[in-house]
């Protein structure tokens, strides 16, 4: 995996204007190119604030945030940073700007001053990537939640970004919509080397990440592979989080003496381990 950092935070602190509470305290982290990173934390832990620092929607009060070496607090870098770091938000209804799907996908490139013929080509390609080409001329409000989020992703792809940040983009979706969105971004990561940052409430989603960051009360309290993070059950509990159900099962089986691998954290992996242990 390439080790070049695309997003880097050094000693970042943040506080909302007019609020006494600090939203983020002394956070240092780096996200590498081509990596899938999950950020988990309870409601109000600061994870949404954190991801808004990634594309200069918010600027740090202390410390620095850099994207591809560009400081987010320098006004001159603003558009370039936002082009590179695309963001999908939670509510599918509040991020599509225009009524018709393809016109919405063209919105970003239009802002960047891309020539019309190229916008057309980018829009068609982006809608193809998210498998929404059949809906190009449809009204966006009639789509399902998962489809709306895929259109939002296409709108970012048309700007040719390096990073996709999903700010709880699956929270309001049904299981099928969640699956559609997740498989779309993971495919983009596999096939295009897209860096993906998922902020999520669903621990199961974090299992698919290369690394997991855990936020608790405005602090970064843990960082590691899913296996490392979900092994810290006590720390997770303290951060008001839960391990995925299959991780709990794995631990219960281990405690009872069943020889299952520590790496088994999904249904299929665990089924393999259990059937081996029971038939051995």
């Amino acid at each position: 995996m390439p080790s070049e950092a695309i997003i880097k935070l050094v000693n970042v602190g943040f506080q909302y204007a007019g609020s006494e509470k600090t939203a983020l305290k002394n956070i240092s982290l780096s996200i590498k190119k081509g990596e899938v990173v999950a950020v988990v934390g309870h409601n109000g832990s600061g994870k949404s604030t954190l991801c808004k620092l990634f594309n200069a929607l918010l600027l740090p009060a202390e410390g620095t945030v850099t994207v591809d070496g560009m400081d987010t607090s320098a006004e001159a870098n603003l558009l370039e940073i936002r082009r590179r770091v695309g963001m999908v938000f939670q509510n599918p209804d509040n991020q599509l700007v225009t009524t018709i799907v393809e016109e919405d996908v063209g919105f970003g490139p239009e802002n960047l001053g891309v020539p019309p013929a190229e916008i057309r080509a980018r829009v068609d390609a982006a809608l193809g990537e998210v498998e929404m080409r059949d809906y190009a001329e449809k009204a966006s409000h009639a789509l399902s939640g998962g489809q709306k989020q895929r259109v939002a992703i296409a709108g970012l792809l048309a700007m040719q970004p390096e990073v996709l940040v999903l700010d709880e983009a699956t929270a309001m979706l049904d299981p099928r919509g969640r699956e559609e969105v997740l498989s779309t971004v993971l495919k983009l990561n596999r096939e295009r080397g897209m860096t993906v940052v998922m902020i999520t409430q669903f621990m199961e989603e974090a299992l698919g990440a290369d690394r997991v960051f855990v936020l608790h009360d405005s602090r970064l309290v843990m960082e590691g592979t899913p296996r490392e993070v979900f092994n810290e059950r006590a720390l997770l509990e303290e951060s008001r989080l839960d391990a995925p159900a299959f991780v709990k099962l794995r631990d219960d089986l281990l405690a009872a003496g069943l020889p299952v691998s520590q790496d088994a954290m999904t249904c299929d992996a665990l089924a393999d381990e259990i059937s081996r242990a029971l038939t051995a």
Binding site: N43, G44, A171, M172, R176, R240, L278, T279
Partner: protein, 284 residues
């Protein structure tokens, strides 16, 4: 007395070119103190169905009776709505008053209760949802956190002391602990007050854990209704409809595929764990 739904059909915009049949021929009973889970793919008619429970929607044909009261009778509707509490998805979006106390009192006041009785109901409901009246009653609902708003909105329904509580995805967008707290609250209402619960949820694990019976909706029809065991033993059909299975059921299926003969259709992880550990010990 139960909620009795007989041969209910509902068509949106009937008679127009845009007529859209959302429900057809649904017969279902919700007994006193029962926990009924309602599952189905988005667009299967779940929201349309639950809005019939308190007369927000009226049957195009068929009937709905709440404790013997027909929802089609306009005069009975107020009474029906105080019997059946309805918690919509994201109920925090219905908060509107200047203080939490006044917002929670909205339902009781509409029922015609006097100030003293309403005040009793308000503090009772706030305590139930875990918001200390001394701390929260005078606050503006708009300055609460997301989870607190959700609970304040819930209190607004509970203050009407409904005999039945209908909930549409009550845990959506909450963190794991928030989800657990709301579920625990719903379960305690049933246990302590005998409140009948109808809960629509996409989380099969939650439904499997708490429901006495589960109604499966598919394309506007009642596909199946039965105990969690009966419903989740028909996993292949549920997957066909685009539904998920509880995680324990998923594992049972994965194990069977690998030749591990598990006879019982487990749908709760704790029971499946016991079975697996038992087998392991037995093998040794």
């Amino acid at each position: 007395m139960p909620i009795v739904i007989e041969q209910l059909s509902h068509t949106y915009l009937p008679g127009s070119a845009l007529a859209y049949p959302a429900l057809s021929d649904i017969t279902l009973t919700v007994s006193d103190g029962e926990f009924l889970g309602v599952i189905g793919h988005t667009g299967s008619g779940k929201s349309t169905l639950i809005q019939h429970f308190n007369g927000l929607l009226l049957p195009t044909s068929g009937s709905v009776h709440v404790d013997g009261l027909d929802t089609r009778e306009k005069k009975l509707r107020k009474q029906i709505r105080s019997l059946v509490g309805m918690v919509f998805q994201y109920p925090e979006y219905q908060l509107f008053e200047e203080t939490v106390e006044r917002d929670v009192a909205f339902g009781p006041k509409n029922m015609g209760l006097d100030d003293a009785e309403a005040a009793t109901r308000v503090s009772e409901a706030l305590c139930l949802v875990g918001l200390d009246p001394a701390e929260f009653a005078e606050k503006s609902p708009f300055e609460l956190s997301g989870g607190e708003k959700r609970r304040a909105a819930l209190a607004g329904i509970l203050a009407m002391r409904p005999k039945y509580l209908v909930l549409d995805e009550p845990m959506a967008c909450l963190d794991p602990r928030g989800r657990r707290e709301i579920l625990a609250l719903i379960e305690s209402l049933r246990r302590d007050f005998g409140t009948g619960i109808v809960m629509v949820s996409h989380s099969m694990d939650d439904v499997a854990m708490y429901a006495d019976r589960i109604a499966v909706l598919d394309k506007g029809s009642l596909y199946l209704v039965g105990s969690p065991e009966e419903v989740f033993s028909r996993g292949a059909e549920l997957i066909e409809m685009g539904l998920n299975l509880p995680q324990a059921t998923q594992l049972v299926r994965a194990l069977r595929k690998r030749g591990v003969p598990i006879e019982h259709d487990y749908f709760r992880m704790d029971e499946l764990t016991k079975e697996l550990v038992g087998r392991w010990r037995h093998e040794r």
